[in-house]
């Protein structure tokens, strides 16, 4: 269904473009400009030269690369067997694996890090038991290892989910052909299955790389400062917004993020992964023999225990008074929850407000962009899609610094004070970075709505707006709600932008509250209690979105070609 340029849609597209320019492109450009500016408006590479001269910066750079790469490798080791098991074998642990895929994502990595100190730290439960019985300890949480450990357990689901989806789409005839030629086991996996599933793997792995490379909260909670993101944060907060090195780091973070994304895209594009027949006959699920079953369950249970440890640790922290140099905490109490409800109701409310509004903004923008890209012939409409995709690669830290710089001194109307000191900035920052998730959901939903339905509506006299409002949006509802929930739950755990943008405690969302509580001894319990509440909200949201997505899928299937 092709239509001519419509002034209404064109102006909506322009408005969205302007929004993205002001709140995504301009702040990032300001950061890049500052990194290359000599202070008098001229171009200079001097800041990069100073960066390269400072050995701490070189070290931070190397450390960040090391942590991100190691995390990708370890996450692969955990995720690949799990993905292969679910898709190719017939066995009952599949539900456990699906749970594994979601559990870590409901808790922000930095929240889990605090709990994991008490379990795996120098004097954590595991090391105390090891020392008692075997006389040695494992430095799991020391320095960079600790960051790698926490990040791996948090982010491996990205690889698991993408790889599983990719594996499921492989035509079974390829595997059968290989088997007929005598390949089996490891060889079959290495030579045929894995290469065919590579696009999914690369997508997941590059995402993990970006997320870990940019992460600020986890290193900060673990006291690791010799990495790029913490260095940028420290420079900009303690030296000041004028420190050029902070901006140089930001440019490096952006370059690597975009590089990793572009690289994965190029890699998939370069090689032909297309199969003659796709998604046809699902490979018959093979059965595992006794030993294999034992190994599979062993792996699943082991990973499940690791993945659950921060959740259990956080719950224990929130329910007990003292946890010090002992395997288990002591003195049960509900006082921490009472403290949170007495002092921090505002933060819970702020999270609901900011993330709710941001998610709402996201689905409105997402629906509009999806409609413009898929249903109009507006010239340059793909640009909106590309711009939004850029937001996916944009580190929260960089956007936060960009906002502080670009909008410094911007006053809001009606005497609401400075933009950077208002709650609106959170809504905008969350909305911009979560827009890609909402857009994907909306695009997918709109693709499933057959254009014939809209034509039918227009044939009986409905105008374009009426058609969108009464036909398109209701049919997209499932996808829109899924997009809303995804945006909401990912924003609820955001910490990088949040730390930078929080100018007053009364404006702070829960994630900042947790970070703040963790900064005092009496606050550890309440911080954990607030963390448990945040996890509960996010878990509930995830559950609802799964239910809704499941409910929406069969309803739309009749429209698909």
């Amino acid at each position: 269904m092709q239509r001519g340029v419509h002034w209404g849609t064109a102006s909506v597209a322009l408005a969205i473009g302007a929004f993205l320019f002001v709140f995504l492109v301009a702040p990032v450009l300001a950061v890049v400009y500052t990194a290359f500016s000599d202070g008098q408006g001229g171009f200079t590479l001097a800041h990069f030269a100073s960066f390269a001269q400072i050995s701490l910066m070189r070290e931070s750079f190397a450390n960040s690369l090391y942590v991100a790469t190691t995390t990708v490798i370890l996450a692969t080791v955990i995720a690949v067997p799990l993905a292969y098991l679910t898709v190719r074998f017939q066995f009952r642990g599949a539900v456990a694996i699906q749970t594994l895929g979601v559990l870590p994502l409901v808790m922000p990595a930095f929240v889990g890090a605090a709990a994991m100190q008490l379990i795996f730290g120098r004097s954590g439960a595991v090391n105390l038991i090891l020392k008692e019985n075997f006389g040695f300890t494992l430095p799991i949480m020391e320095g960079l290892n600790g960051v790698v450990f926490v990040e791996t357990l948090h982010y491996f689901p990205f690889i698991l989910l993408n790889l599983a989806a990719s594996l499921a789409a492989i035509d079974s005839s390829m595997e059968e052909a290989a088997q007929n030629l005598g390949a089996s086991g490891w060889r079959l996996f290495r030579k045929v299955v894995f290469p065919l599933a590579l696009p999914g793997y690369i997508a997941g792995a590059s995402l993990v790389f970006i997320k870990v490379f940019d992460d600020l909260g986890t290193p900060l909670v673990l006291n690791v400062t010799n990495m790029l993101a913490p260095q940028a944060y420290l420079r900009v907060t303690s030296i000041g917004l004028e420190d050029p090195i902070g901006y140089v780091i930001c440019v490096i973070l952006v370059a690597f993020s975009i590089g990793a994304m572009a690289g994965s895209w190029w890699f998939v594009k370069r090689r032909d992964f297309a199969l003659v027949s796709r998604g046809g006959a699902q490979a018959p699920k093979r059965k595992l023999n006794g030993l294999q079953t034992a190994l599979a369950y062993g792996w699943i249970v082991g990973v499940l225990l690791l993945v659950l440890s921060p959740h259990i640790g956080l719950l224990l922290m929130s329910l007990f008074k003292v946890w010090s140099f002992s395997v288990l905490p002591e003195q049960f109490t509900l006082a921490h929850y009472a403290t949170v409800f007495a002092d921090s109701k505002q933060m819970i409310w702020n999270t609901l407000l900011y993330c709710g509004l941001a998610a709402l903004l996201d689905v409105i923008l997402g629906t509009a962009i999806a409609y413009i890209v898929l249903r109009t012939t507006l010239p340059g409409r793909q640009l909106l899609d590309h711009l939004v995709t850029v937001a996916l690669a944009m580190p929260g830290l960089v956007l936060g610094i960009g906002y502080l710089r670009t909008f410094k001194g911007w006053e809001l109307p009606f005497d609401m004070g400075a933009l950077t000191a208002s709650w609106l900035i959170f809504v905008i920052a969350y909305a911009v970075r979560r827009l890609p998730y909402a857009l994907r959901s909306c695009m997918a939903a709109l693709t499933q709505v057959h254009p014939a339905l809209e034509e039918a509506a227009e044939n009986v006299g409905a105008g374009r707006w009426r058609t969108i409002r009464r036909v398109v949006v209701p049919l997209m509802a499932g996808g829109i709600v899924a997009g809303f929930v995804t945006s909401f739950i990912t924003a609820a755990g955001e910490i990088s932008e949040t730390i930078l943008l929080t100018s007053r405690e009364s404006l702070a969302p829960m994630s900042y509250g947790i970070y703040l509580y963790f900064q005092s001894i009496a606050g550890r319990g309440p911080g954990a209690a607030l963390g448990v509440l945040a996890v509960a909200i996010v878990a509930l949201g995830t559950y609802v979105s799964h239910k809704l997505a499941a409910a929406a899928a069969p309803h739309q299937s009749g429209d698909r070609k």
């Binding site: 000599d38 202070g39 001097a46 800041h47 100073s50 001269q53 400072i54 050995s55 100190q117 008490l118 730290g121 120098r122 004097s123 900060l220 006291n223 690791v224 400062t225 010799n226 420290l234 907060t237 303690s238 030296i239 000041g240 917004l241 004028e242 420190d243 050029p244 090195i245 008074k321 003292v322 946890w323 010090s324 140099f325 002092d343 407000l353 709710g356 509004l357 709402l360 410094k408 004070g417 400075a418 709650w423 949006v473 209701p474 509802a477 829109i480 709600v481 100018s503 007053r504 405690e505 009364s506 703040l516 509580y517 900064q519 005092s520 001894i521 009496a522 606050g523 550890r524 309440p526």
Partner: protein
């Protein structure tokens, strides 16, 4: 579905205007103090002055200074409330504080030899703090570590890998601890002690709070902390102990009115409240455990509560905040370049030195002496640190590209030298005969 979305929208729009509804005056307080302290003051103050609203802006001291500096006149927060007096000196020098003079007349002018309020009237002491050692009793027992009494004890091999300290650039209170040691022991000896202590440390934490946190949950044995961290942890039931060593200084934690704020009168109201009988009593709360500046409050304190006015805490050092302020950025940077960022190498050198001592069983060795000198000497001497040109360079505006570059070069020079010294020290110590 649409109906529910609409509902959400309506609720969101209604909610959106709620933050605007607050009327009366808002007092913004920039502070490095933990949430339980700020929450207690917020509650008590707002109960007493229902039309005022207290906004807490929690930042570590260095970030707090940077924040105030970057706000335009008229938008600045009202009150700055933090431990380190030198941070207030930095703010006063930058003309960011209003002269408010001393407050409550019942508060004595001096504690020991140290003035409670700023003699120039820019800030007031709000609570007193001493620096000391905190340890986890379970950790000490399990690892057979003896209880320390003095800073100097901590350089011994028995403490290797059991200590924790923060860095002055990240924590104003640690900066004070370091300055106290430098002033109490002298520049060269102070740094020697500092370096040896840090060489024994398991970690240099990101925030001053990382130390008491790690000690109270048993990750580290002993931490160098400001007293209330230790006292609050102990009073909250953690298995920890706290002592003041003799080289400590009792220094006020301060509060000041920021120049160019929106509602100075309301800010002043809060400052006076914190110094009133009511405001001072809050300090005694179990999870706050700070030392009031109002001596009459100690009568209400539980038994065993330290009282700096009773002469029980021996403070040998008369802290010179002008000296501290003049080399503020240099000490910060030296600590980071020599210790924070080169901690791994420093620890390796320290370990090699301890090992050599054990091997040589007290026998004198020129290599070992040389190794100690290399590992535990400050990178510049006191004269160089008081050089005005160097001090000016470290105080220069960050947008000054030339100064930034020069400073980066100086710092890089320190870092490279420190790294080479540690490597050489480790090498000498392991081959010492």
């Amino acid at each position: 579905m649409i109906a529910s979305l609409r509902l959400t929208l309506a609720a969101a729009v209604a909610a959106a205007f709620l933050p605007l509804a607050a009327s009366g005056e808002t007092i913004t307080v920039v502070t490095s103090f933990p949430k339980e302290l700020t929450a207690a003051y917020k509650k008590a103050f707002e109960a007493k002055f229902p039309s005022d609203k207290l906004e807490i802006l929690n930042k570590n001291t260095a970030a707090g200074i940077a924040y105030v500096r970057e706000q335009p006149v008229g938008q600045r927060p009202e009150v700055f409330w933090a431990s380190a007096p030198d941070a207030f000196e930095v703010l006063a020098k930058a003309k960011l504080l209003q002269k408010i003079g001393p407050g409550n007349p019942a508060i004595p002018a001096k504690v020991g030899n140290y003035p409670v309020n700023d003699p120039e009237g820019f800030y007031r002491g709000q609570a007193l703090a001493g620096y000391g050692l905190m340890w986890n009793t379970r950790y000490m027992k399990a690892n057979n570590v003896p209880e320390p009494k003095e800073w100097a004890d901590l350089v011994r091999p028995a403490y290797f890998g059991h200590l924790a300290i923060s860095s002055p650039s990240r924590s104003g209170t640690t900066h004070l601890t370091v300055e106290t040691i430098l002033q109490g022991e002298g520049w060269a000896k102070g740094w020697e002690q500092m370096l040896a202590i840090c060489g024994n440390s398991a970690a240099i934490t990101e925030r001053s709070f990382g130390v008491p946190d790690g000690v109270s949950n048993g990750q580290y044995g002993i931490g160098l902390v400001i007293d209330f961290f230790g006292l609050a942890a102990k009073n909250s039931g953690m298995p920890v102990e706290f002592v003041y060593p003799s080289v400590t200084s009792i220094v006020p934690a301060n509060i000041a009115l920021i120049e160019g704020a929106k509602s100075s009168a309301a800010g002043m109201r809060f400052i006076d409240f914190t110094l009133s009988e009511e405001g001072q009593t809050l300090l005694l709360q179990k999870e706050i455990s700070r030392l009031p500046v109002l001596p009459s409050i100690y009568a209400k304190a539980p038994a065993g509560y330290p009282n700096p006015f009773g002469g029980k805490i021996q403070a040998k050092v008369n802290f010179d905040s002008n000296l501290s302020e003049s080399r503020y950025f240099i000490v910060r940077s030296m600590f980071d370049q020599m210790i924070t960022f080169r901690h791994k190498e420093l620890v390796a050198a320290t370990k090699a030195i301890h090992d050599a001592e054990r091997r040589l069983k007290g026998k004198a060795s020129p290599q070992l002496a040389e190794a100690r000198k290399l590992a535990f000497s400050p990178i510049i001497d006191e004269r160089a640190a008081s050089d005005e040109k160097l001090q000016a360079l470290f105080r220069a505006e960050k947008s000054n590209a030339e100064a930034t570059k020069q400073k980066a070069k100086v710092e890089e020079d320190w870092a490279t030298k420190a790294k080479a010294n540690y490597a050489r020290a480790a090498e000498l110590a392991s081959s010492a005969k």
